[in-house]
Amino acid sequence: MKSWRQPSILPGFGLTLGYTILYLTLIILVPLAALVWRSTGIGWDAFWALAFDQRTLLALRVSFGAALIAAAINVIFGVVVAWVLVRYQFPGRRLLDAIIDLPFALPTAVAGISLAALYAPKGWIGQIFAPLGIRIAFTPLGIVIALIFVGLPFVVRTVQPVMAELDREMEEAAATLGASRLQTLTRIVLPTLVPAILTGFALAFARAVGEYGSVIFIAGNVPYVSEIAPLLIVIRLEEFNYAGATSIACIMLIISFVMLLIINMLQMWSRRRYSNV
């Protein structure tokens, strides 16, 4: 049998692997297993009935749909922000750089309340859109905006260091070979950033799926329309319907896990394809 041990300057494979597994078990696996065990405790029929209830399905759709849209928008916006921060020197650059991290630090409820105030029909931004018949706060659109807010730093912070390491000579080489700026961007710069962009997307998406605090203030929480799955879980808990709460949680867990797994595999593929490391 092939040995997993590899000679190395810093030995300690056994110790670190053992520690990793123990830690993962205690912190992540045990709580998740308890969740699954709890939800299946009610029997399969009851689980299916609770899980595929119309309200649950729509809440899941709002949650995952809004998270995907928000993460996709964050990828575009985040890459542009990272580009500006890495490539240009301008007054206030450091300040702007520091502001990026604010959504990390701010209590999400605060973000939710201020966003709701801004985008409400009478708010500063909301009143611009209200006459056009566009309502932002208290609709799924508001949810997307809240999720963009919390997810942005993930994309910027994962793409920024990779962008800073980009070989400028590659761009110059492309220019000497006759490539236009757009061609240099799409054929040289972006492909080398794909793995980092995917990582940022995955992080922003994962964060958005689990986001609760900021969303509930701006979503309006209309059942079947703008109710997110985490909120539905809380509602079920308040009804002392623990089985209902855990079964929704279980489904969220499975969908999230599958999606993150796919993104991870895409990332591995792109890393091989685009950076050859």
Binding site: G178, S180, N276
Partner: protein, 349 residues
């Protein structure tokens, strides 16, 4: 295509990098820009390429003013010091890049691009490696891919920045010979930057010696080695020693003693000579000093000698290097007398 550089000046954030520099490069010529780091040679190359814009002056490709053209439009082949290969593309994709990005009106059909890539791979002797990625190649192979990529667009001028700088000595020598043959075969006007004088002298039709943003001398290998135009060129090309001398009454005086005939000028001057242009002699015109080191160099020996100033002077001794025959009696710490047989004088203004 011939390239004319007219009164080019380049400043970086008000630091002058090139001062009022002019150079004519004939069509098909292989030119080396040689100089120590910071002499502005890479800046000049990048200006020709259009990767930098001159502060003043013009660059002509043929009769066309290239200063008005963008990098993309100049149709130059540029090989970067660290190759700058597109690492997410295979060797074949790298080489085809310049053709694939052309607008559809001038882009060759796919089959022709494929054929062109195959021909270029054959020319740089890398057939069979087209599916590899750059990080699966050795340094010398990457260098040749970079060259093939630059050649794919059929450039009017080929520019190479320290083309062999990152390679080991043996590969460097092979590639040097290969590049010479390649140039002779394709006849492209080629300019390359190097700080390695051996490389410049061996490879180039003409060498442009640069120092501190100025051209010191332009000439063939024989010109710059045998007839250096300035003290800088004499000391930079090949090994040499320098002595401060005074010219008076048709003689060269060192330490107030005549050591030879001066055919020009009066006053203080700098005398340069090569290590091999000396004879060991005890004659009246000989220079004498203490041997501080002696080392073997291939078929001969190099003696390092400190020549003291005249009596009473506390200045540091003059350090010179001369070639001595293997059988000459040289003892470390002992005295050795010699006389330069050929030298060059530069009057101090």
């Amino acid at each position: 295509m011939d390239v004319k550089i007219k009164n080019i000046r380049k400043e970086f954030a008000r630091f002058p990098a090139l001062h009022d520099l002019s150079l004519d490069i004939a069509s098909g010529e292989l030119i080396a820009l040689l100089g120590p780091s910071g002499s502005g040679k890479t800046t000049l190359l990048r200006l020709i390429a259009g990767l930098e814009q001159p502060t003043e002056g013009q660059i002509f490709f043929g009769n066309e003013d290239a200063s008005l053209k963008s990098v993309q439009m100049r149709n130059i082949g540029f090989v970067f010091q660290h190759y700058a290969l597109f690492r997410h593309m295979t060797v074949a994709e790298n080489i085809a890049f310049g053709l694939k990005v052309r607008p559809s009106a001038t882009r060759p059909p796919k089959a022709e691009i494929r054929k062109r890539v195959a021909d270029l791979l054959d020319m740089v002797q890398l057939s069979g490696l087209e599916k590899r990625y750059p990080n699966q190649l050795s340094g010398g192979q990457r260098q040749r891919v970079a060259l093939a990529r630059a050649m794919a667009i059929e450039p009017s001028v080929l520019l190479l920045d320290e083309p062999f700088g990152a390679l080991d000595a043996k590969v460097r020598k092979e590639l040097r010979r290969w590049l010479r043959e390649f140039h002779d075969r394709t006849g492209h006007t080629t300019v390359f930057v190097t700080h390695d004088q051996e490389e410049a002298l061996e490879l180039a039709d003409r060498v442009v010696v640069m120092s501190q943003g100025k051209i010191e001398q332009v000439g063939t290998a024989d010109d710059v080695y045998d007839r250096p135009g300035s003290p800088f060129v004499f000391s930079f090309i090949g090994s040499s020693s320098e002595l401060p001398v005074t010219l008076k009454q048709g003689a060269v005086h060192f330490n107030d003693r005549p050591i030879g005939i001066a055919d020009q000028g009066e006053g203080r001057a700098r005398l340069f000579f090569r290590p091999q242009d000396v004879v060991l002699t005890d004659g009246a015109e000989a220079l004498s000093g203490k041997v501080t080191a002696c080392r073997r160099l291939a078929g001969t020996r190099i003696a390092e000698i400190d020549i003291a100033h005249g009596a009473g002077s506390s200045d540091k001794a003059h350090h010179v290097e001369i070639e001595v025959p293997l059988d000459a009696p040289v003892t470390l710490g002992g005295d050795l007398s010699f006389r330069p047989t050929r030298w060059r004088l530069f009057l101090e203004s």
